[in-house]
Symmetry: C2
């Protein structure tokens, strides 16, 4: 047998062999993978047995595959067996004049990357999640489902889950039943559906300033303009500013995070929430209430929601279990008030229905009381972490640093000396394998350039304390 | 103790009791449900222990809840214990001049309704699905995941799943690797993302005529205009018509189902697919290829995809496991060619990432070879069901009935006498608890009013044969 390549491109067996070779080269087929039998290959590709056989012989001659007696053909060579130079990472230094969009892209890229301390991600650390119990709920939910969770779920959402969500609404002053709830693929999808239900491209939506960067992306994607309403660090939304603004500008909807806004962490007192709902009610402006952090309160009682003051059905409350239990499950919901029919219709058009097994598992986890117990533990853990993070930042950061005092949620909003560019801090930190969120990405005009957001979702430890010390040193050096 | 209502609305305990009563009335709390302890209620609502206690006593006095010694308070009464009159269903007869939208809404409503023979839904019957094996894949995937599938999944999609999808592409002539694949929540979401990537509201998109009714909904939702291209029952898309049309009208994208179109069932021959890709390539018009039925072929080999002829990266191939394995898992994907970055960005904005457990389970199901085996069985079953359905329709329907001869997929397209209104047939059938799809919903102008679509996804049986006979009788009576 010879290894000399011959001009055989035009033969069918050679075409087939070339395509398999490409799969091996690209690592789609890996060393040790079993190939189709000659018979199956011939069937699959609609070629004769002898053509299929010849293709394999050609690959065998090249040393790419091997025939094992009585077993069939296997991939022998795989390009990942040859040590290659590690591809040079695009240096973070080369990113100088980046746009806010680029910053956001870089931050998202880090969500699943290994080896980086993710102080930029406002989700619970895996240590805080009762994974075994949730797995159990998944198994039991599949077992209990008449169709093993294989069939399409009800378009409005899994019934058990909707009932449980309705039950939990009692804690924030809601009298909701399962028919008022529509499930979604996480809170973000809920927000998108709400925006689609009440706006057209070109419309203006009022949002908080500063606001979660994901919101800007969504607004842009839907062709919406934003009107940024300032926040007070303690009482939240500046209602007087909003009132004046909506007199002057036609606002089609508001999207606010009244309980534990992101990144500022403030929570509107009940009476101001009521005032907000009344104000928007008289103007007939829908309020999309992002309540994703509402259940993560550190005080004695859960803050009420705007929805609880909503008599006209103008409030669409959105939430999920992504911050409290399982981001990967993508289970969220909306309580859409008078926009229910529209929301269901939009959901139908975009996704037909949400995934059955994940909804059923979360429904089961709620029903068994596991969620209640977990949330009590989670709130305690977050509160204590929050305090420890604040103390450490106080200790390690320059003296002129100001820190928010959130009463719930996941994040600290840190104001540094005006001379400091948060994006520089971000870049320096990433070199030390720590990711934080630079303040620039929380507004449309890259104000807040001397702010950073830090999540305290990761349990406190010596290693973590050391990372906060490193961060403090970075900031000190930048003054 | 007295049952006389006293004027106590203004007391806090009474407000709390009223809200709990409402939950019981609305069945959010059901007979036998355990209530919070007095202590927990006081904590949750921020009220004193005595107020919480008094609220429960008031509910106890009303006979709504009961205290069980050493156990706590339980709901005693539940409104669903009182037999109520069954609510009168809105008669289907009252639907006379319904719009296409209304028809579609009625059909979707039936997707999850019990007791109706769903010949309108083009998905596999649960009997055809290896549920136990899929469950096993779910358990194993969760067990193997470092974070029990709780964390956010990679934004582009689960790596194992993407590798497996890439591997399967070999069967349709693709040389794809995992980096070319983006996962989505079902095929519908993939189509929406593709449309969003290449069009703006007001743009025109070419689609097939007849086409799947879900497509119209999506187009409307995105503010797109449609240009309908006729189909040939055997060779599929009328390329000559398309060529002329795109000379005259600015078409921003095409969305076609080249293999086993829905509802007509036709499959474009390979050379015509190649011609289509070349034509669109010269005009630089992106092709969204809905390949959801491509793997459900009855012939010897899987039809090639347009994607396999795509050298310029203009074809975005969309598919899912909703038709082949598990609609409820909402696992789909797109191979977006040169639009990859845009698609990932849109996915990020709309849903952050897709659900982790369902993607991991399907990845595992593919990897173990279970999918391959299942698909061989499914194809055989569908082919045999298709032939039996055709024979029965031939036998029971009027002699002038014409039936499509699909070489794959799930549906039969049935042309009846011109005098027959398919929506009448739909209504008559629903009265007999059979749902079919009337032809009106498969085009923008409600042409095809004498056509119906029947899915052959349900295994053939005597009962099924009888239902087809009932359908035949309905049609005969309508002539």
């Amino acid at each position: 047998m010879s290894f000399t390549p011959t001009i055989t491109q035009d033969f069918l067996y050679s075409q087939i062999a070339d395509r398999i070779e490409k799969q091996i080269e690209q690592n789609v087929l890996k060393s040790g993978d079993k190939l189709l039998s000659v018979r199956s290959l011939s069937k699959e590709q609609g070629i004769s047995i002898s053509t299929a056989y010849t293709a394999y012989v050609q690959l065998e001659n090249k040393g790419l595959i091997e025939a094992r007696p009585k077993s069939g053909y296997y991939v022998k060579f795989s390009s990942n067996h040859i040590p290659t130079l590690t591809s040079s990472k695009k240096s973070i230094d080369s990113i100088e004049n980046v746009s806010v969009d680029d910053m956001i892209a870089i931050i998202y890229k880090n969500i699943t990357e290994e080896g980086i301390l993710k102080l930029s991600v406002a989700t619970p650390s895996i240590e805080l999640i009762p994974a075994a119990k949730l797995n159990k709920s998944m198994m039991e939910a599949i077992r209990k489902s008449p169709h093993s969770c294989i069939s399409y779920e009800d378009i409005q959402g899994n019934l058990l889950l909707r009932k449980q969500i309705a039950k939990y609404c009692f804690s924030w002053g809601g009298n909701i039943n399962e028919d008022d709830v529509v499930t979604t693929q996480g809170c973000m999808e809920a927000l998108v559906f709400c925006l689609k239900a009440v706006t057209e491209p070109g419309d203006t939506v009022a949002i908080e300033n500063p606001t979660y960067f994901g919101i800007f992306n969504v607004m842009k994607s839907l062709g919406l303009k934003v009107l940024e309403i300032p926040l007070n660090p303690v009482t939240g939304l500046d209602l007087e500013y909003l009132e004046t603004a909506i007199e002057k500008i036609e606002v089609k909807a508001c999207l606010f995070v009244p309980s534990f806004s992101n990144p500022m962490g403030c929570c509107m007192p009940d009476d101001r929430k009521k005032q907000l709902v009344n104000l928007l009610g008289t103007k007939n402006i829908p309020l999309i209430e992002d309540d994703i952090y509402g259940a993560m309160y550190f005080g004695k009682t859960r803050p009420k929601t705007c929805k609880s003051f909503d008599k006209k059905g103008i409030v669409m409350l959105c939430s999920s279990v992504s911050k409290s239990l399982a981001p990967g499950y993508r289970v969220g919901w909306v309580i859409p008030g008078k926009f229910k029919a529209k929301i269901i219709n939009i959901k139908l058009m975009h996704t037909v229905s949400s995934a059955t097994p994940t909804q059923a598992a979360i429904g089961h986890f709620f029903e068994t009381g596991r969620y209640d117990l977990h949330m009590r533990n989670l709130r305690k853990a977050l509160h204590s972490q929050c305090l420890k993070y604040i103390q450490a930042i106080n200790k390690f950061f320059p003296d002129d640093t100001k820190i928010s005092q959130p009463q719930g949620g996941y994040v600290l909003w840190i104001e540094m000396n005006k001379k400091i560019n948060a994006f520089d801090v971000f870049k320096d930190a990433l070199k030390q394998n720590i990711s934080i969120s630079p303040g620039q990405i929380f507004s449309t005009d890259a104000s807040f350039s001397n702010y950073i957001r830090i999540s305290f979702g990761i349990p406190y430890s010596d290693a973590l304390e050391n990372s906060l010390k490193i961060l403090g040193d970075i900031v000190k050096k930048r003054i």
